[in-house]
């Protein structure tokens, strides 16, 4: 083990080096703050590199819609933020329907989104769908579509955010798990395996482990660690540009520029967050395989090269915790419930506003940590 004589001070300590931790550190640094990120493993080791790379506004929980829309704009210009395009490819996200009932559900949903003032979700008919996604099964009769959504490369993204942070002077301490947090006057003293760090502000971006950090800070926030699973195939000739999901079924499907096809959408294995381990659940994987063939018959013979799962934090209501804790200058941002990748750019900005301005320009009330108080 490294010497634990390390000790440093900063304006803000960010706990957790996933995309949200890095994005928060980045935005704080852009506004001139001195930031230390402490990460128990390696930057991006967990959900932020295990994820499916879906950049989607489509189908978001209503409170997330304004944040997601703001983040979508940042994705369009992500290179300006991190000097790297993060592999972002804008096309369409579509949600497929194969019954009239499903089409009705999609129409009702699009109306709800229009009612809160957003126009991005459109209903398309079978012909338009087939023009957009020629490989789709003839059984699909239409879809909901969002133009400008797409996917990016999670590896490239976390690497770009990490590098940009370092360029801006953010210090990272990897292999530096937080064991204890103490109040020292107006400062917080964060004790890790790698030393003690002191700063007036703390942001908790610890993902599936966010509940533990919250407890150290006096907040009772229950987050459940689950292990969403993914399948990736061999490289196939290019056949689809859009990212596809399906109404009422856990399913997400996309082809990357290198030809590999990624299948996911919600089936989970078993998470063991204490030992960084996930177990796959073959029934869930088999269901993915079935669903993929149902919507995309071309997939029947495709070879699966790898399956994996990542550890992600889920909140009981399926949306993250974003906001101030009870103690002074403590902020939480975790529990993104398997859809936090797209929100990475904007949530970092929101947290920087919370730390520096004590208020955000975006509507974050629905994400308040206090919402679970009995």
């Amino acid at each position: 083990m490294k010497s634990s004589s390390n000790s440093a001070t900063a304006d803000t300590i960010v706990i957790g080096g996933g995309l949200h931790g890095c994005s928060t550190a980045l935005h704080l640094a852009l506004r001139g703050m001195k930031v230390i990120v402490v990460e128990k493993d390696r930057v991006g080791r967990h959900a932020s590199s295990a994820n499916a790379g879906g950049v989607r506004r489509l189908g978001r929980a209503l409170p997330e819609v304004p944040l997601s829309a703001a983040s979508a704009q940042m994705w369009q210009n992500i290179e300006a933020l991190v000097d790297d395009d993060c592999g972002f490819v804008a096309s369409y996200q579509v949600k497929l329907a194969d019954t009239d009932e499903q089409m009705d559900q999609l129409r009702a949903r699009a109306q709800q989104v229009r009612d809160i003032g957003f126009e991005h979700e459109h209903i398309i008919d079978q012909q338009t769908l087939r023009d957009l996604v020629p490989a789709v099964s003839p059984a699909c009769i239409g879809a909901m579509a969002v133009k400008g959504d797409g996917f990016a490369n999670p590896f490239q993204t976390i690497k770009a955010f990490h590098q940009k942070c370092k360029q801006l002077g953010v210090t990272f301490h990897e292999g530096s798990g937080v064991d204890r947090i103490e109040r020292a006057g107006t400062e917080w003293s964060v004790q890790t395996a790698d030393g003690t760090f002191v700063a007036p502000n703390i942001v908790n971006c610890a993902g599936a482990w966010g509940g533990k950090i919250a407890a150290m800070l006096g907040d009772d926030l229950h987050v459940e660690a689950r292990a969403p699973m993914l399948i990736i195939t061999e490289k196939m000739p290019h056949f689809i540009d859009c990212v596809a999901g399906a109404q009422g079924i856990p399913f997400s499907f996309k082809q990357f520029p290198n030809g590999t096809v990624l299948i996911g959408g919600g089936h989970v294995g078993t998470a063991h967050p204490d030992i960084n381990k996930t177990d796959l659940n073959f029934e869930g994987l088999a269901t993915y395989a079935k669903t993929a063939q149902r919507y995309f018959p071309i997939m029947k013979n495709a070879k699966i090269v790898r399956c994996w799962a990542g550890i992600e934090g889920f909140m009981p209501d399926g949306i993250p915790v974003i906001g101030a804790g009870q103690a002074d200058n403590v902020f939480h941002s975790f529990g993104y419930s398997a859809h936090g990748y797209q929100m990475g750019p904007v949530c970092g900005k929101i947290l920087s506003e919370l730390v520096i301005d004590k208020a955000s320009t975006l509507p974050i009330a629905p994400f308040a940590p206090t919402r679970f108080a009995a």
Binding site: G44, K277, F282, I304, V305
Partner: protein
């Protein structure tokens, strides 16, 4: 419907797996033996039951010795499933495989992993060109395809390099040359182990005999060769290297590479069993006790998959693993296990006495572990040694992170071809040990499967549960 519950499941039907299965069945256990080859035998005894007299003459006595094991297996009650590729081993003892694009699953109370060795990757410039194959591949073609490589230039070091050279000779296709990396220094450092090895003088004599045969046939040998590369644009055209202070160039369209064999750790890694790096054999192997018990109670490991020891050692360790498995599921008691094991452990020790000598004599040259920057190391994603060094400078400190930095190890071979090289390069760049740097995480499927196979699997599992 095929039986799916067994006392013991054995993966791999080489000398280790065959002996394990036969031994376990002898004690009354129900045993299922799985192997992706069409016939039992493993690498060394590949196809031995089908060998023609002409092949037998070329391949030699050692090869034929495997025939007895195959016969014993045939007479046993073991349920041997051939042509099945195992692509997942669950921590609960469920072993999932495909056979003719159909998925199947068997479950053992104990699982013996006997999946053998693979040839060590030899990343040199041009090693991805058609016309460059491994020496083992050339041997496999003699055993299974009835084909012999002509005008081959053999490159590298190790007993198998000489064995294949003499087999080619016997088959009427003398190799064009042997380009050996082994140096006098290797010999000098191997000598201290010589007295350990003389216990196994028979093997030593055999090694010498190879050399004599090659000399008689006037096959040119270059030793202490370095800076070896294969020339060609779409196909191998020549091998170039330095030896004896001179540059050499030998034209050939057939290059056979070999730098020894290393344990196949795909299954043991996927189960996250404990592994350790062996500094002398320069490879990782799973940690086991004398009986082959791994760090997980349900799994034993036998044969070259647990550490390179050769065919005889593999057969003995197979029997030991069977005793271990039988005792762990209560088929025999610990006392019987220990009395039967004692003799086997002794004979394994004497078989192993030659290993230190061979391991040091045939240590691969540093070039293999530290390829030049523009040499491809990940054949699937075409990542070069220099890329890994660049990633290291950017903070990449472990094999799994090379995936993040540049897709290294993410192709269909799942890192089989680049894993060890990546570990070595990162260890050198960061001045850390190979143990500290670690190895790729391995995930199911161990070998690619089709979507339709995977979806059919859920039906198989369901049937199983409702039974």
């Amino acid at each position: 419907m095929m039986q799916s519950q067994f006392d013991i499941v054995v993966v791999g039907a080489g000398p280790a797996g065959m002996s394990a299965a036969v031994e376990a069945a002898k004690h009354g256990a129900t045993v299922c033996l799985l192997d992706e080859q069409q016939r039992a035998g493993g690498q060394i005894y590949r196809n031995v039951a089908q060998t023609t007299p002409a092949q037998a003459k070329i391949l030699g006595k050692d090869y034929l010795a495997g025939g007895r094991l195959v016969q014993e297996l045939g007479q046993s009650a073991v349920d041997h499933r051939a042509g099945v590729t195992v692509w997942n081993v669950g921590e609960d003892g469920a072993v999932t495989y495909s056979r003719n694009e159909q998925a199947g699953q068997v479950r053992g109370q104990h699982v013996i992993i006997a999946n053998g060795a693979t040839e060590r990757p030899v990343p040199i410039p041009g090693w991805t060109l058609p016309g460059v194959i491994t020496a083992g591949a050339a041997q496999i073609m003699m055993k299974s395809d009835g084909l012999v490589a002509q005008n081959a230039v053999l490159v590298g070091s190790g007993p198998l390099l000489y064995l294949v050279a003499t087999q080619l000779l016997a088959a009427g296709a003398p190799p064009k040359a042997l380009v050996e990396t082994q140096t006098r220094r290797n010999l000098m450092s191997a000598l201290p182990h010589f007295f350990g090895a003389v216990k196994d003088w028979k093997q030593l004599v055999k090694g010498m005999r190879f050399l004599v045969t090659l000399k008689r046939a006037k096959v040119p040998r270059y030793t202490a060769a370095s800076e070896i590369a294969v020339e060609g644009t779409d196909h191998a055209q020549a091998v170039t290297f330095r030896a004896g202070g001179k540059d050499h160039r030998i034209e050939t369209d057939m290059v056979l590479l070999h730098q020894g064999v290393v344990p196949n750790t795909q299954i043991s890694r996927s189960l996250k069993l404990d592994h350790r790096f062996d500094d002398i054999q320069r490879c990782f192997h799973p940690v086991t006790d004398a009986l082959g018990q791994s760090s997980h109670p349900l799994f034993s490991i036998a044969g070259d998959g647990a550490g390179i020891g050769g065919a005889k050692v593999a057969a003995i360790s197979g029997r030991l693993a069977a005793l271990n498995a039988l005792a762990s599921i209560g088929k025999i008691d610990a006392g019987l296990r220990d009395t039967q094991a004692a003799g086997l452990i002794r004979s394994r020790q004497s078989e192993l006495s030659i290993r230190p000598f061979l391991d040091v004599l045939y240590t691969p040259p540093e070039e293999v572990f530290a390829p030049a920057d523009d040499t491809i190391i990940c054949r699937c994603e075409e990542v070069r040694a220099g890329d890994i060094r660049k990633f290291a400078a950017m903070g990449c400190d472990g094999p799994n992170r090379t995936k993040v930095f540049g897709r290294c190890g993410m192709g269909p071979c799942q890192g089989r071809n680049c894993g060890l090289t990546v570990t070595e390069i990162l260890a050198a760049e960061h001045k850390r040990t190979q143990n500290e740097v670690g190895a790729f995480r391995i995930r199911a499927p161990l070998k690619p499967v089709t979507l339709s196979e995977l979806s059919a699997l859920s039906d198989t599992i369901h049937q199983d549960k409702t039974q």
